[in-house]
């Protein structure tokens, strides 16, 4: 098995403890992921006798400070995201080249993960930890109460029928949140991909298609149809507020990344077992359900860290099946990027996540990972919020989005 092979090579190549003590920066303070990461650190310490200092920062704060953090005295290894957001910092020469680590453990990962971990110069700067699909989440028991079969929700009409059923029962049909400014980007991404297809998403994000295009406006036409089924306080809730609506059986469905399975499990095993996911419904038959937002989370090593070799050594362990297994052993649900995680050990919800992934032909990373950072956060975020405030303003908002794109500094 790949895991065993990787383990062997790790034993021969890593001088346990020789690399010296190092520090690790987590970009989460939540219970479940912290448990996972601490288990990883503990397993590494036990194996190598090498001391790891664990520093945790709340994820928004971590993100806002990342530039300064990486230019200052960062931790040797830290948690980050794949794709554009990693490439940007690699280009600024702030990340450690992890190509040698990939030579060791690369055979444990599918090619697509290697591509997502590769910088513009062709070297790897990222070790994937886990992936999660963005899909339509709901509680099986609530659909059963309505007499709806989840597999029967295939297209937009099926979806609206289900929302209608929820609304008639006095429930929120589609739980939505956008106080954080990023939550609604997932809904935009998927409706855009359903209406206009994957290529349009890529081209729009890169500025080759226009926000003022009638095709972009069409996305909002569909989105607007969902508003009557949404909770009214969309702009007052962050993602976990929408999750609470689902957890408390006050809402029928929610579009979100599956990472929050752990939160359901914290509540109770029964709640976790009730949780289900299906792909967002088809809108345009031409594009079926062929695209999905499925971001990859993982780790990087910081060049300005005091112990680059230590960071690499730790990440070699984190990417190897042995480290992955330490995280899985905590019982916190995780769909690992490592091939070595036996999918037969997946629970029902994870197996379903895999099935949802399997149906997609094209993987998107998420709006704020697929376009320029100085556009996603400061421009698209507020624009979507103002759309929720007044959906009739859509044309004005799209014109402003385009003119703000045009005014961006040259890269």
């Amino acid at each position: 098995m790949a895991g065993v092979a990787g383990l062997g090579s790790l034993l021969t190549s890593c001088g346990s403890g020789e690399v010296g003590p190092l520090s690790f920066g987590a970009r989460t303070v939540d219970e479940s992921p912290t448990k996972q990461l601490k288990a990883l650190v503990a397993a590494y310490e036990a194996k190598t006798g090498n001391k790891v200092t664990y520093n945790a920062t709340e994820s928004n704060a971590f993100q806002n400070n990342l530039s300064q953090y990486l230019q200052g005295t960062p931790d040797d290894a830290f948690q980050w995201m794949a794709g554009y957001r990693m490439q940007f910092f690699a280009q600024q020469d702030l990340l450690v080249d992890l190509s040698s680590v990939w030579k060791k453990i690369g055979d444990q990962y599918a090619e697509s993960y290697k591509i997502a971990s590769t910088g513009l110069d062709g070297k790897q700067y990222f070790i994937p930890q886990s992936w999660y699909p963005w899909g339509l989440h709901f509680r099986k028991s609530m659909l059963a109460d309505l007499g709806i079969d989840p597999d029967g929700i295939y297209n937009w009409d099926d979806f609206l029928k289900m929302l209608d059923g929820m609304k008639k029962k006095g429930l929120v049909g589609f739980a939505a949140a956008d106080k954080g400014g990023w939550e609604a980007m997932g809904t935009f991404d998927v409706i855009n991909a359903r209406v206009n297809g994957y290529q349009y998403h890529v081209d729009l994000m890169a500025g080759r298609e226009k926000w003022t295009d009638a095709r972009t406006a069409k996305v909002f036409e569909y989105w607007e149809q969902l508003i009557p089924y949404m909770n009214e306080n969309v702009l007052d809730l962050e993602w976990d507020g929408a999750m609470q609506l689902l957890l408390q059986r006050k809402a029928g469905a929610m579009l979100m990344g599956s990472w929050f399975g752990g939160n359901f499990k914290e509540q109770s095993d029964a709640d976790y077992e009730d949780l289900w996911i299906i792909p967002f419904p088809e809108i345009n038959p031409e594009h079926k359900r062929d695209s999905i937002d499925a971001p990859i989370d993982g780790f990087c090593a910081a060049k300005n860290g005091s112990n680059n070799d230590g960071g690499k050594d730790f990440l070699a362990f984190a990417g190897d099946m042995e480290g992955v297994q330490a995280m899985l052993d905590t019982g916190v649900p995780m769909t690992s990027a490592n091939k070595g995680q036996d999918t037969s050990t997946y629970d029902a919800f994870q197996t379903q996540q895999l099935a949802v992934m399997g149906e997609a032909k094209y993987i998107m990373q998420f709006l704020d990972r697929d376009t320029r950072p100085d556009f996603a956060g400061p421009v698209v975020g507020p624009a979507l919020q103002s759309w929720f405030k007044n959906p009739k303003d859509v044309n004005k908002i799209l014109e402003s989005l385009q003119s703000q794109w045009d005014a961006l500094p040259p890269l």
Binding site: S67, Q92, E232, L235, K250, S400, Q404, A407, P409
Partner: protein, 304 residues
């Protein structure tokens, strides 16, 4: 008095500083000046220069001259700027017309020793010991969808009152929160000034038959001029530099755009651009302008 006795000695010394004196003076004046230049003026000037460039804030080699592009972008392309400006103006007007006068009124009442003045004094002063960030955290707990207020009203998150998410009212919700602290702050400053007023002034005006209001307007207020200047300046600065409360409640999302947050949003994180520096310069100009104007007018009156 002792001061007149020591005066000749001082003036003789001024003509011939000893070596030690010069060293001490040099250190006491030089070090703070150097620090001030290093920590205030140089960064301020650099910010102004950088606001005319494109830069992601990482490698010096990447700095590109942009002319006034960042400013035209803000003025002509960014609706968030005008939303933020509007919110800052509401903030300033609210503070100037409601919060600050309320603080002055409270100070005056407490100084008159109304019944329970000690209680009021501590109660209103209490929020001031909390930083604005903590104030934001406390009120966030109170008012968010799953917070205390919605809890006692028996509302769940699906039908909670949207204090922060309703864009028609959220600026006023924030104004109540900010005033909660500002009123106590102004009260304290004003109270300190009132305590220093010679009580014979009040007695004299009472003997002359002045009403309470006349005494306040024609006697107390003019005597309090130095404190008034401080209070006006503080009110302007606090309204324009507002940031902490909003950041704690909304993060960098534009839930309630104000200039302070726009600076941060455009300069922090991965999306750093010197548009943030341009916002900072605008904020600086906006705050310094009215303050200079006010101070000049005050000093001119003092001279004449």
């Amino acid at each position: 008095m002792s001061s007149s006795a020591t005066r000749p000695v001082r003036s003789r010394r001024r003509r011939a500083f000893s070596r030690g004196d010069r060293l001490t003076l040099g250190l006491f004046v030089g070090v703070p000046t150097l620090l001030h230049l290093l920590l205030v003026w140089i960064p301020a000037i650099l910010t102004i220069v950088l606001s005319f460039t494109y830069w992601t804030g990482i490698r010096f080699g990447d700095i590109k001259w942009a002319g006034v592009a960042n400013y035209t972008n803000i003025f002509t392309k960014t609706p968030a700027f005008y939303d933020a400006l509007r919110n800052n103006v509401i903030w300033l007007v609210w503070f100037a017309l409601l919060a600050t006068p309320a603080g002055v009124l409270l100070a005056y009442q407490i100084d008159r020793h109304i019944r329970g003045h000690r209680f009021y004094q501590s109660a209103y002063y209490f929020p001031v010991v909390l930083s604005l960030a903590v104030t934001g955290i406390i009120w966030n707990f109170m008012l968010r969808s799953d917070g205390f207020i919605n809890g006692i009203l028996g509302r769940d998150i699906d039908n909670a009152i949207s204090f922060f998410g309703n864009y028609d009212i959220n600026i006023y919700v924030i104004m109540v929160i900010a005033s909660w602290r500002h009123v106590g702050y102004i009260m304290l400053l004003y109270l300190a000034g009132l305590k220093a007023i010679d009580p014979t002034l009040r007695e004299a005006s009472a003997i002359d038959g002045a009403t309470e209001w006349e005494t306040f307007r024609k006697v107390i207020l003019p005597v309090m001029r130095p404190v008034n200047v401080i209070i006006v300046v503080i009110t302007i600065i606090e309204s324009l530099r507002a940031f902490d409360i909003i950041y704690v409640i909304y993060g960098t999302s534009a839930g309630l755009p104000i200039l302070g947050v726009l600076v941060f949003q455009n300069i922090a994180g991965e999306g750093a651009s010197m548009k943030g520096a341009a916002y900072a310069v605008l904020l600086f100009v906006l705050s310094i302008g009215p303050i200079i104007a006010y101070l000049r007018q005050q000093f001119r009156e003092d001279v004449s």
